[in-house]
Point group: C2
Chain length 395, copies 2
């Protein structure tokens, strides 16, 4: 097997993540590696924590990046907060709610499922019914931004309901952080996890998490040890905690954290509200183009995530063929459907650095060209001007 250095092509990443990584971040990740206990690195860790507090809009002291992808961030929340026998209400309206159920059960908890149709938001009424029917519940878990469908749930309301029935909350913000309003402290979210490779536009592999005082208290008062050594926050905090004395836990992914530091700095430079507005504006432009072509969104307008656009694949069109042609002919990646939606939808991401007018124009133009070449039943010649109109003057 002849193996040479791997030189990836330059793709435009408009799938469900990773999103386009800004050159500043790619440059940051290649800076010289220093020791993970080097005082300068420790200083940078403190800055990463501060910047994450800003991104999450929280003062939580326990705010840090888990040294592994989002699914490990998810597991960090469940492994630390769920004790054997704990009843956890899990709201499922897509793939990731199902993964939460797996997490609850593998931690020895009992999952009570609240199911909503894929592509819709979590119904607060159903959650309240479940809370009433299960007064011994300890936790409520839900996905703020369902990456598998593009539906956004009303996190503030769901957290309020959970608290009304004395439950703590675990919120999946993998796709929402940096892309759509998310206010950890104002909404009272107890535990939250995200990923670097979505609206932060950072390289994939790290999972920011945050825990408020209530969550920390539950962790401190556990009757049993956290089943994962790697994810045990009591140990991780000895390393990420403040104070001069840090105890070694694991070797931090030094360069990946350079990248995250730079990505978070860019978010702060832009300003959270500006980033949220940009994601919304660009979504409107993409939507105008796709709808002009005749494609339709699967999520009701009020629940749509601006950064993750799930549209139905036109009848008779071969999903994989279209995605393959976009990739090979235009270096453009869009996402396939996941789980029950596989083969039925495309997921078009406008996340972080990928949420730009240039990308929207490329995507709409390429999709129109490929679909019309395949004889799909779409309107041609109108999408790009619809996008331009929505984008407005570029001066």
């Amino acid at each position: 097997m002849e193996i040479r250095s791997f030189n990836p092509p330059v793709r435009t990443l408009m799938g469900p993540g990773p999103s386009d990584v800004h050159p500043r971040i790619l440059e940051a990740i290649s800076r010289p590696t220093i020791g993970h206990l080097d005082p300068l690195f420790v200083g940078m860790m403190e800055e990463v924590k501060k910047l994450l507090q800003y991104a999450f809009q929280t003062d939580n002291t326990l705010t840090m990046p888990v040294s592994a992808p989002g699914s490990a961030g998810m597991e960090t929340c469940f492994a630390n907060l769920v004790e054997p026998g704990d009843k956890v209400i899990v709201c499922q309206n897509g793939v990731f709610g199902g993964r939460m159920k797996e997490n609850v059960e593998r931690c020895g908890g009992v999952a009570v499922m609240v199911e909503d149709e894929w592509g819709t938001a979590v119904d607060p009424q159903k959650l309240e019914d479940a809370l009433k029917a299960n007064p011994d519940s300890k936790l409520v878990a839900f996905v703020h931004a369902e990456t598998s469908t593009g539906a956004q749930s009303d996190a503030k309301t769901l957290v309020g309901l959970a608290h009304k029935y004395n439950c703590l909350t675990i919120v999946d913000a993998v796709t929402s952080l940096g892309g759509t309003p998310l206010k950890v402290d104002v909404w009272g979210i107890d535990a939250i996890y995200s990923g670097t490779q979505k609206c932060l536009s950072c390289t994939p592999g790290i999972s920011p998490v945050s825990f408020n005082e209530h969550a920390q208290e539950k962790i401190r008062n556990r009757k049993t040890k956290v089943q994962s050594w790697f994810m045990d926050l009591n140990l991780v905090m000895g390393y990420w905690g403040s104070g001069a004395k840090r105890s070694y836990h694991h070797t931090a992914p030094v360069n990946a954290l350079y990248a995250l530091h730079e990505a978070l700095l860019m978010l702060r430079e832009e300003g959270l509200e500006n980033a949220w507005n940009r994601h919304l504006r660009n979504h409107q432009a993409l939507k105008a183009g796709l709808e002009a072509m005749g494609l339709s969104f699967i999520v009701p307008e009020a629940d749509r995530l601006p950064q993750l656009n799930a549209v139905s694949i036109p009848q008779g069109v071969d999903d994989a063929l279209v995605r393959g042609r976009l990739l090979n002919e235009y270096n453009l990646e869009i996402g396939a459907g996941l789980g029950a939606l596989a083969g039925k939808v495309w997921r078009i991401g406008l996340m972080g650095h990928a949420s730009r007018p240039e990308n929207i124009l490329l995507c709409v133009a390429a999709l129109e060209a490929v679909l019309s070449d395949l004889g799909a039943d779409i309107r041609t010649g109108v999408a790009l001007s619809a996008v331009q109109k929505e984008l407005g003057p570029r001066s």
Copy 2:
């Protein structure tokens, strides 16, 4: 808090890891991010697996990088192979054997400890005694290269004993992979994990693992689910397995894997045996210099790891002060002692790209300068020539 882009200094990394990262690897990690399901990325994943098989000297099909640091690689082995109630013999001769015990217990297993003095190799006789006394044991776990002490154990003999008593083996090769002879198939190791930031000289954050058929069979025949969703090999293999159809599990750390691909390619270019010999040669030169200065190794010569040199701190010398001066005045990082050895030893790494004559000369010269400036009881003026003599002609 004023936060700017983080520009690390250029350090020479001669601690217990991360080691110096070669510029080729830093360049590779900054290449454009592509999708984790992109056919070109999937092709690269296959190459990473092949290159890891070479590094581990194995044909194991289940050979891949875990998307998290070495301690997650450790946990992947234990979480998949230990079922509740399983008795596991853990040989401890340093910090990491203690972490293995934690892992066994958190997986619901029963750990039987075989203790050896820190700084010595695991005693095969003690292991055999424990195996005889515990005929119901399922697994034997030990550390091949104890990063906390610099002692190397006879993995081949220990694995042979475990098999004689029908136990599978879990081997920690975090510090040995690429630095000292390690032959997974010839020695019959059943499950093994390593790290990227030691003798592979790659950026930290990824953990290569490998499982043979016996280990895979035990995993397939588990009566209980693996307690970690993120680390469940039955799921991870759906993503890393061969074949055209890959199922999404988590988002791979794309850029970190570019780096690992390049690091493994460099190891193959050099050749494993050449790398092992280089580590040994450079160890001899460092040793000549340190001993000429009057410093002494804590590990008996026969058990010494060439890539991790633990020496006693001379009496009356302030550990942290010396390491701080080396870092601030020479941009040189050496390691502190861990656990019971904290404050008593320095750990000087000669790992991967850091295992070079230039580094040895810098380290010996800087250490001599700082120690003599502090009035430590060492011999001066002889160490560098001892190093040069050992290195031989440089032409």
